[in-house]
Symmetry: C2
Amino acid sequence: MLPEEIEISQNISVNIQAFFNSSDYDKVAVLVDENTRLYCLPLVHKAIKPTDIIEIKSGEEQKTLDTCIHIWKELTDNHFERKSLLVNLGGGVIGDMGGFCAATYKRGIDFVNIPTTLLSQVDASVGGKLGVDFLGFKNHIGVFEDPEKVFIDTKFLNTLPARELRSGFAEVIKHCLIADASYWEMISAVDFKDQNWSGIVKHSVDVKKKVVEEDPFEKGLRKILNFGHTIGHAIESYFLQKDEKRLLHGEAIAAGMICETYLSAKYCDLPESSVKNIEAYILKTFGRILISKDDIEEITLLCLQDKKNEKGVINFSLLKDIGNSVFNVGVEQNEIRKVLQLYAQH
Amino acid sequence: MLPEEIEISQNISVNIQAFFNSSDYDKVAVLVDENTRLYCLPLVHKAIKPTDIIEIKSGEEQKTLDTCIHIWKELTDNHFERKSLLVNLGGGVIGDMGGFCAATYKRGIDFVNIPTTLLSQVDASVGGKLGVDFLGFKNHIGVFEDPEKVFIDTKFLNTLPARELRSGFAEVIKHCLIADASYWEMISAVDFKDQNWSGIVKHSVDVKKKVVEEDPFEKGLRKILNFGHTIGHAIESYFLQKDEKRLLHGEAIAAGMICETYLSAKYCDLPESSVKNIEAYILKTFGRILISKDDIEEITLLCLQDKKNEKGVINFSLLKDIGNSVFNVGVEQNEIRKVLQLYAQH
């Protein structure tokens, strides 16, 4: 069963319309980027009837306080008040940043998320983690706050470039690896382009929701969702600073999951057959990122800035087996360097 | 009885030391301005043993996102993590802004407030309203979040200029007017310089705490704390933009309370004798701010930006009698203009 705040449908306009019929907002702004304005807004414009459209440029490099200032200014100029609503129509950047702006505008107005990428549908839409990047660190400034509603329509996935779709698929893989071995067997038997997205989105949202409901503020269990992300975020942050090689979030996380699979073998006795199995399917789907020896040093240092870092020990969430994960596994810096070397084949 | 998160004492170092003895923070930064660094930090430095001191310039005009960026950068550069603590040592600006920075740094680290002004001791220390000014609007960007602890020492009041002390006294007056007629009789019989601050701080914290506990997110009852603040904030915002006439918060609120006392007579039948009584004591204590005819127009417009504004109607919290307040009283724009004219004697 999906919780009622998240509605998944093949024709989400009907659900959106019902939501607005039963609510009483004086103003409604839709936050879009140039892509979602063109490809997604037409599908829901009639249901939302926005009083304002706020457009930002697409891309992770826009996820900054400067863009927040633009959004806050638009809300202010249009006299948004506590009974007004912000609808975030787009991927994770729009959802995380728009949610953060809403949660902090006049100490919080309501917001609704309509995630349009696979990544945001299976990940960012659930769990209330909002924020922006700061000084090159991912999601460094933010809050926890839940949207009033999340409307998911897998129809939006047809508007995505294949590379974007694949990026989101990394989180699908993660949800299977940390919590559901049989679903992993199912998806890993099929090429990513031929997956059943409707079923996959429901499954992934369900896995994430169960974990988050048990531990909303990441005191314990929720940390398992960080599998692949400690090293993955460091890789993502590192290449974000270097203009020549732009990685999508899921591409960095895919590499991070391989590295943390190696760590799982060393620290949690993940069987060798599972290591090979995970490594092979992720490499087949995502390929291998070129990482130089110099890169490895800097990525290792970036891992120390991770939010899961306590008193200098870097805490990882790792796999005991496929579908079975643990958190708070302390890992030394040098072991991070080693698995990056193994991944990069240096 | 005061709630245990707020500790009031004449020798707060003992309480602070006990707090640190029973907690487990890996790093502790103290946020100060040049005044609290000089006059207040020496009184608590030994008890806190900070690993870092973050200094900002004093003054409401520093309560901006730019200053937040400086604070977030300091926390980042010093590798603050989720188990680190920020101690806000200063007035309302330090508490509101430092709390906002802590509540949003890595999606929230713990913070402790040690309010050093009367205003922050009786008002900002309770209630979890955090934030900064934006585009000239007061507390426009912020969140609700409670500190781990508030330590209040009335000894700090000795370090204040008389004008600062008087500014805080405006909130003391407000707490009496909205909730406690007998305490109003007591304080209004005495010149502000001769008040018993220790008793007053306890009383004011108690009034505010009771209201906030019943309605933490300002859905209803908490709005009574806005008495004097709808017009008062507009006056404060207006003069903040004009460099030549710097008003302290309480000075603007004092003028706002007089204006809203006039509104109370019109909308809530506040007896004429009470109007005279309130007006006389506030004018005797604070004097009258010079407001021109042009100022009145702009201040009236600024009231429309108030957070308590719903669908263009401006909601006020007003007095039915001294000690008896109501909220959500809709007031037309023209009536705001009229009471400003009455106050300014145009």
